[in-house]
């Protein structure tokens, strides 16, 4: 991860994404350009089918653009192999999935230490870091409970702990409050805001709800495969 481009953590330049080919081809992204600086808290909004999931997959290095450039930490992600992208995810990214995606019949501690296992950390260090991450999301004392024994809000916190246990550069959250009531949702948002402010983790969050987006410092609104509205430009004006 050599050169850094002008302080931007993320740069998208002319990114398009087309699914299928020929007559059945569907263009999900029609040319996207934006930058995200380290330390931002960005909400991504838009109706379903607007391309926000596609752009999240590309930002998360899970998918590559059909054309255009995606530069993350100075790397041209679109030209990396599958394994190279996996290593980027391992070392710099944290994911909070919509459906939590915790391993069933596996304790909170084991779920949280999973990313550390792939980093090859020794057992003692894994446990210490996983406990610390669980403490950070307020789940001290719940280490040995399995997902089935935890409430939805607690499961989401375990998922967040798993995403931040590696101290990622970028945290991608896909509707982190989607399955929660507004009170739990507010708790999760407070947690994400704290991680962003106190730990300097850049956060990108997909959400449908305007009051959740209000926690973010910037909102990207997607419409029909393009960025329809970007509040950073509003703020800059």
């Amino acid at each position: 991860m050599s050169e850094r481009l002008s302080g931007s953590l993320i740069s998208l330049r002319g990114v398009t994404k087309t699914y299928g080919s020929g007559q059945a081809a569907f263009q999900a992204l029609k040319g996207i350009d934006f930058d995200i600086a380290a330390g931002e808290f960005v909400a991504v909004m838009g109706p379903s089918g607007s391309g926000k999931s596609t752009v999240m997959n590309i930002l998360g290095c899970l998918d590559v653009p059909t054309s255009g450039e995606y530069i993350f930490l100075g790397e041209h992600v679109e030209s990396l192999s599958r394994d190279q992208r996996a290593l980027l995810r391992r070392h710099y990214l944290g994911f909070v999935f919509q459906g939590f995606n915790l391993l069933a019949r596996t304790t909170a501690l084991e779920n949280v230490e999973l990313p550390l296992l792939y980093r090859g950390l020794p057992l003692a260090e894994r446990h210490a870091k996983a406990r610390a991450a669980l403490a950070l999301v307020g789940l001290t004392g719940w280490e040995h409970h399995t997902p089935a024994e935890l409430s939805g809000g607690q499961q989401q916190r375990v998922a967040i702990a798993r995403a931040i246990v590696t101290q990622p550069t970028l945290l991608l959250a896909d509707e982190p409050t989607g399955n929660l009531d507004s009170e739990r949702g507010a708790e999760i948002m407070a947690l994400l805001t704290g991680l962003n402010r106190e730990h300097g983790i850049t956060v990108l969050m997909v959400t449908h709800e305007a009051d959740m987006a209000a926690y973010a410092s910037r909102t990207l609104r997607f419409v029909d495969g393009v960025v329809g509205h970007d509040t950073s430009y509003v703020g800059a004006d």
């Binding site: 899970l62 394994d83 084991e110 090859g120």
Partner: protein, 405 residues
């Protein structure tokens, strides 16, 4: 990386202990079957070898007709005569003692009891050559042989049938119009290597047999010659010398093949154990098929497991697992399952073969090599049948996998 994969695999097996145990059942049964079959076969071979050894390691047997091998009938050949025995003793000094036998199945009766048994005419050196001892009475002596007296020695089985509880000595048993006085009883030897009851026999002097029991056409015939070789002398050399002598006595031209056969006990043991070995291999091969079935069972369950855990695999890939790491995880899981099955199978086989050998009165011969082989094979089955599911898991698209319901 291997260590991590093993840790993950063991966690996964622990999470699904019931399913894991059912999955490995095929391997367990396959491994247990193979090892048990081979252990039983080895036991049978060992028993045959021991039985043949009980004949005496220094025994040489001469039979008329060509050597019998599996699937080959003996052609007709002239029988031996009594003077062949004396000729061998004179010409081959390495032979310590020699005897000959002729036999005929006969109905025996004593009072109201009846039995059908081979009556064998032989010479007084029979116990010495055949390694027999007596539990009661005595064997007939040269005088009785020369005089052709109607005296006989009973095998243990015959004694039991005709004289349950009472002593047979001095009693007369009847067969083929002969009233024969019982003068001794042989110590039991049990079944022979060929499965015959060696104790179902009545022995009488050869002279008396030829005169009163043998059929008119075979009056002078002696069926089998048995030679006991002096300690320290080579049986092979005796076989060679006896063969030369008999060719001469039977007037065989150099271009004619032997119309008799001479063999020592080692050869008998080899012939018999080769049959058992073939059977063992056959049974082992049949049992090995069940190992294959067990392997397919593992593949099936691993495929189900990959489908069921698609979201989990997606999560792992998204978190940053490499393709090779996911592949290794599932492969190690399959190998851990199959090796565990192999170990259980070995344990089961030990119990089963111990029980079966003692039930079948066979010696319990433990073959460490076959156990090691069974374990290696079961582990390889894990690699072989775990590979396809593991590759399927590793090649999943993380986005699709995360969406999987």
């Amino acid at each position: 990386m291997i260590w991590n994969a093993l840790l993950l695999a063991l966690r996964e097996i622990r999470r699904n202990l019931m399913r894991a145990s059912l999955t490995v059942l095929g391997i367990v049964i396959g491994v247990a079957a193979v090892i048990t079959m081979v252990t039983l076969g080895n036991g049978a071979t060992a028993q045959i070898t021991a039985q043949v050894a009980s004949l005496g390691s220094n025994l040489v047997i001469v039979r008329p007709g060509q050597r019998m091998s599996p699937g080959q009938a003996a052609g007709w050949a002239p029988a031996f005569k009594e003077d062949d025995i004396t000729a061998i003793l004179e010409a081959v000094p390495a032979v310590r003692s020699a005897t000959g036998t002729a036999q005929r199945g006969s109905s025996l009766s004593y009072l109201a009891e009846n039995t059908y048994t081979p009556v064998i005419g032989t010479t007084p050196s029979y116990p010495e050559v055949g390694n027999w001892s007596l539990t009661e009475g005595r064997f007939f002596h040269d005088g009785e042989q020369r005089a052709g007296r109607a005296v006989c020695v009973l095998g243990e089985s015959v004694r039991k049938t005709l004289f349950a509880g009472t002593s047979p000595l001095g009693e007369k048993i009847r067969f083929r119009g002969v009233a024969c006085e019982v003068i001794g009883v042989l110590a039991p030897k049990g079944q022979s290597a060929m499965g015959q009851d060696q104790d179902d026999v009545v022995l009488m002097p050869l002279k008396a047999y030829q005169r009163r029991v043998a059929g008119r056409r075979s009056r002078q015939d002696v069926g089998t010659l048995m030679l006991s070789v002096r300690d320290g002398m080579s049986t092979e050399k005796v076989v060679k010398e006896v063969t030369e002598l008999m060719r001469e006595r039977r007037n065989l031209a150099p271009n004619e093949s032997d119309n008799f056969s001479v063999f020592d006990t080692k050869q008998i043991a080899d012939a018999l154990s080769s049959t058992t070995r073939i059977l063992t291999a056959l049974l082992g091969a049949v049992a090995a098929v069940s190992l294959l079935v067990g392997g397919i069972g593992i593949m099936n369950i691993m495929l189900v497991s990959v489908t069921e855990r698609t979201r989990e695999i997606g999560t792992r890939l998204a978190i940053g697992a490499l393709e090779s790491e996911v592949l290794l995880q599932f492969l190690v899981e399959a190998v851990a399952l199959s090796s565990f099955g192999g170990l259980l199978g070995i344990a089961l086989a030990l119990i089963a073969s111990f029980g079966l050998t003692s039930a079948m009165n066979l010696p319990f011969v433990l073959d460490l090599n076959i156990m090691l082989l069974a374990f290696i094979v079961s582990a390889s089955i894990g690699v072989l049948f775990g590979f396809v599911p593991a590759r399927r898991a590793a090649r999943l698209d993380p986005i699709e996998a995360l969406r999987h319901e």
